[in-house]
Amino acid sequence: MPLALIAIVVIALLFGLSAVYGLVWAIRTGQFSNFGRGAMSIFDEDEPVGETTDVFPGRRELDRPNGEQSAPSATAEADDTADDTPEQPRR
């Protein structure tokens, strides 16, 4: 019995402490200091805010993968400029 008890207590403590550690870490590193910026963090130059990224096939060209495919296997810079070709955000 003691072995089981020790194992259970130790493991429970580890999982519990990992959550506490995560929470303290998040607060101290400012993860929760600016929620507006947090929500925006998934958007970047590749996929900017205000641009929809999925439609039924044929409605509009799904530009990214095809663009990537047709582009010569070049450097990241070249890909970046290719990605910047405007895409009209429309309703």
């Binding site: 493991i11 990992s18 963090s41 900017p48 999925d54 890909d79 955000p89």
Partner: protein, 495 residues
């Protein structure tokens, strides 16, 4: 370009940010292999489900086939769906989302493909042993112990690689989906191994690490509920929190609530499992704790519901025009529904009616199908074109998939919920003859088979769509390599 070679060191040196397309490309093989394997298990699980469903109202069906008796087909269905379909699709999404959000290339893609192959073989071995009569009869954990331990080991490898991606992340802010995915991958391998050892570890009984009797039942439902709560739910919710804003191109309504939702889920969900044992021979306080945990889950569920509703409201056309969002929003709405329903079912007075009836089966499918499976379909519609660079072949097939799966689920849920509730009311009244209660459920069981047929059609259509995409990919890859080879010889000739 198809002969793309991954050069992680060069990216390390550049220390500049990777484009999403580059990250997607690094995920290509593992994610495709995991998704396609998942699809295989979805079809296998569908066949097993149909056999089980037909047997419920037509018991003579395949009655002379020993391997296909109800007691074997039903757990085989559950385990292929849980560890084959849901597990592998979930892992594909975890790997892709964690790499994208961490702005890192996926590490060790070859190892991951190997893990996927091993995973398939393990699930196959487990399924065969269930069908051969070697299942353990412990719900959600029917695979024999050796099979389960191998699966746990494979889970740990995936968990370690996903955590490596997370800890090597280049993003400053940890997005809410990353929290969820990290939680899932941290908690689940441990849960799975410990539950298996506690319940099936015969040689551990003397040390007290494995239990017997009602302790096994408690461990069983602690685990079975956490499969949903700490594995499928975080993956599904993370998918919604990533794909809804991503496809709409607008940030989620309240980021604050999303973070609150994650931490309350982490705090409460683990307690909820014992509500499955209401009326069972375990201490009453343990069940009360489960009920309290289940009711507290209303907090995270409400945060998710508010967020998904207010992010999509006013953008209905965009949702409807996106294959991904049709499925994802359907899944998100089902998540709200199934979670509130689940909280209610943990109340003793509700549970004493719905327990041991078809109502519970409807609830389980609302969770794993209407929520999780639809969410994974949505993710596949988003991810696979980005892995292969190929557009989906047909809009009407996607629509067919959506409507057959969606309507099938609706029929399934309505029939069994209604039939099951009255089944429960009748069973609680001792005046009713048991057999008449059983025969009263038969029309609803037929409705379940009809619903299953609709969903099967959806799965076949989806498989055809994926197959067409992969064939086109294969064709282009071959053409690409031939072209590249041609260019090379031309270059050599000119040189």
């Amino acid at each position: 370009m198809m002969a793309f070679t991954r050069r992680e060191p060069s990216n390390e040196n550049l220390e500049e940010k990777l484009t999403l397309a580059e990250i997607d490309r690094s995920c290509r093989m593992p994610v495709i292999v995991f998704f396609v394997s998942a699809l295989f298990w979805l079809l296998a699980g569908t066949v097993l489900a149909m056999v089980a469903s037909l047997k419920m109202h037509t018991p003579d069906f395949l009655a002379d086939a020993q391997w296909l008796t109800f007691g074997r087909v039903r757990p085989a269905h559950l385990n292929t769906m849980a560890y084959g379909w849901a597990g592998m699709a979930g892992i594909a999404v975890i790997l892709w989302m964690q790499a994208r959000l961490s702005k890192r290339l996926l590490p060790a893609p070859k190892l991951l493909v190997g893990v996927a192959v091993a995973w398939n073989l393990t699930v196959l071995a487990g399924t065969i042993s269930i069908l051969a009569g070697g299942g353990t009869s412990v719900e959600w954990l029917e695979f024999p112990l050796p099979v389960a331990l191998i699966l746990g080991g494979l889970f740990s490898i995936i968990g370690a690689l996903s955590m490596f991606t997370f800890f090597a992340r280049r993003n400053v802010h940890v997005y809410v989906s990353q929290w969820y995915v990290f939680g899932a991958i941290l908690w689940f391998p441990y849960l799975y191994v410990v539950a298996n050892l506690m319940i099936h570890g015969d040689s551990l009984v003397e040390t007290g690490l494995a239990g017997r009797g009602s302790v096994q039942a408690s461990a069983n439902w602690w685990f079975a509920h956490n499969v949903l709560g700490l594995w499928l739910t975080p993956i599904g919710v993370a998918t919604a929190y990533y794909l809804i804003p991503k496809v709409l191109g607008r940030p989620i309504h309240s980021y604050y609530l999303s973070i609150l939702g994650f931490w309350t889920l982490a705090l409460f969900y683990n307690w909820a499992g014992s509500h499955h044992l209401i009326g069972g021979p375990i201490p009453a306080w343990l069940i009360t704790v489960g009920t309290v945990g289940s009711m507290m889950m209303i907090i995270p569920v409400t945060t998710v519901a508010i967020n998904h509703h207010f992010t999509t409201v006013g953008n209905f056309r965009t949702v409807w025009n996106s294959p991904t969002l049709r499925f994802v929003v359907f899944g998100a709405m089902s998540y709200t529904a199934v979670s509130f329903q689940g909280s209610l079912q943990s109340l003793r007075w509700v549970n004493e009616i719905n327990h041991f009836t078809h109502y519970t089966i409807a609830h389980a499918h609302l969770g794993v199908y209407a929520f999780f499976t639809m969410m994974m379909f949505g993710a596949a519609y988003y991810v696979l074109p980005r892995m292969t660079g190929i557009e989906w072949a047909s809009s009407w097939m996607i629509r067919t998939h959506f409507w057959t799966s969606g309507l099938g689920m609706a029929v399934y849920w309505l029939g069994l919920t209604y039939g099951g509730w009255f089944q429960g009311l009748k069973m609680n009244d001792a005046e009713n003859e048991f057999l008449s209660i059983v025969s009263d459920t038969i029309p609803y069981l037929w409705s379940r088979s009809a619903a299953g047929l609709l969903m099967t059609v959806g799965h076949i259509v989806f498989t055809v769509l994926v197959a067409r995409m992969l064939l086109e990919w294969y064709r282009r890859t071959r053409a690409g390599t031939r072209e590249a080879a041609g260019n090379q010889t031309a270059a050599e000739a000119s040189a």
